[in-house]
Amino acid sequence: MSEMKIVSGNYASAYGAKLSRAEVVAAYPITPQTEVVEKIASLVAEGEMDAEFIKVESEHSAMAASIAASNTGARAYTATSAHGLALMHELLMWASGARLPIVMTNINRAMGPPWSVWADHHDTLAQKGTGQLQFFCENNQEVLDSVIMAYKICEDEEIMLPGMIVEDAFILSHTKEPVEIYDQELVDDFLPPYDPDYKLDVDQPLGFGSLGMPDWYMDFRYKIFEAMEKVPDKVEEVNKEFEEVFGRDPGGLIEEYKTDGVDVLIVTMGSISSTSKDVIDELREEGHNIGLARLRTFRPFPVEKFRELIKGVNVVGVLDRNYTFGHGGDAAREIKDAIYGYHDPIVKDYIVGLGGRDLTPKILKNIMEDAISLQDKGLDEEIEWVDLKINQERWRR
């Protein structure tokens, strides 16, 4: 029987791995991810989860062990955060190059210095080029749902790539809310065991990770490109199937919240989206034609979907909980790239909530009203930092 439990985002991740019957879990603790590892360790110790739990000495080793496990044909899971993810960087690319569908949870946390343990998307987005699929979650239920779905997407024989479930530090990881923990049989019907065509097997020895000469390497990369191109359809397909089985729509590539025929479109990622929906409702009641697109799948970037969604929109206001050094936030930049040559709305990038700075409904409303005002006055600033000490008066009024 499925059961409603009050659990944190961290426990939702752990239950997601358990329900997915992850067979090998190698992880190293880091705030705010520690509870994921603790919970899995205790589930394994109590015999509730049939998995090999490997204690490792670093995140680099956690991903290395996951790679080895996945190479033997085992379903592998790990979790980390911020500096831990950065330490994994080399092996994130190995996992994708080796076409290993390892699923991990990354608890979004700001990179130091200054030292911080709070929510910020920079850690995840800095890994956007590593070949990992990236799914940003809005609430704890979606965290659990996304772990299960990620295995189904990543292990598809046309995809065979690793994936990351992304949840905001503390706002999800340590916040407890009701989550439906599904019946194991239901999950088993949805997610078949992992059974790759090629694996490490002493009876049938094969070589893995060998040299790719210049006349071959590029073609292997093209294969990954082809797989990535297939991911958007696969995400929507698995999302639909998930909805049929579990009666819940996690949002696919982009969750469209009241977006039909809107003049102003707000784009959010992660937990900000949840608070933003309350604000969207308020503004619509006040007569504004505004809607919200929650960017759930950041990798691969849902280019086609944005082209459809932004057709006829006057202003796109993008809330980036990241500043990836260079020029503004990642989501706004990718959206502009996606719609170039197709549509020409005003696109404004709002840098928000870095290092866990709180995003209240009031601040979000001020941002959205600013986006609405651009329809008349035109684009003032391409990139604006919101709620800094130097401009707090404006955004908190």
């Binding site: 705010p32 706002i171 916040t175 407890k176 809310e177 009701p178 209240t360 409904p361």
Partner: protein, 188 residues
């Protein structure tokens, strides 16, 4: 109790008093009564004795707000010494209630505001039931009993049942502490 709007609750305590567990138990009780809930700590550098803040949201509708609680309906103070260093009533709604852990009657407490105040000696009740020590009593379940009486946010029987199921240790003692504080709270 009929909830028309979301109820936001803020706990002020010290590491070791059980503020975070209290925010969670209250959420569980409201959830058991069919409400949507959210419970979260203000995470900083938690350690025994340091000021801790925890939050609970309760609503008839889905709780979508994931920001911190800035304008609480209910403020709960587990340690009176915090009044010297923390502005516990910051942002409290004009009709918001304050529940304090003290042996003094409410009229003897000056918070500089006119909001309704309730007091209970949760430390004494906790010690009596063997929860923590005299120097460091674990007062979370006792104060919750007082909160339930003062606010009617959930039924006392629901709270007691939730404590019996989810208190990390000494379940029966915690349940008794909550019931005793429910009877002994003073104010309004």
């Amino acid at each position: 109790m009929v909830l028309l709007n979301m109820i936001e609750i803020r706990f002020h305590g010290r590491g070791g008093q059980g503020s975070v567990i209290a925010s969670e138990l209250l959420a569980r009780a409201a959830f058991a009564e069919g409400k949507d809930v959210q419970s979260f700590p203000m995470y900083g550098v938690e350690r025994r004795g340091a000021p801790v803040t925890a939050f609970t949201r309760v609503d008839e509708n889905v709780v979508r707000d994931k920001s911190k609680i800035h304008t609480p309906d209910i403020v709960i103070v587990l340690d009176m010494a915090l009044l010297d260093s923390v502005d516990v009533t910051e942002g409290l709604k004009p009709d918001g209630k304050v529940i304090l852990n003290t042996g003094k009657p409410p009229e003897d407490i000056d918070l500089g505001i006119d909001n309704p105040k309730y007091t209970v000696d949760a430390s004494e009740i906790a010690v009596k039931h063997g929860l923590g020590s005299k120097v460091a009593p674990i007062v979370n379940t006792a104060i919750l009993g007082a909160v339930v009486k003062a606010t009617g946010i959930v039924d006392i029987d629901t709270l007691v049942e939730v404590i019996r199921e989810h208190a990390p240790a000494k379940k029966e003692e915690n349940a008794k502490a909550a019931k005793e504080a429910y009877e002994k709270v003073r104010g309004e």
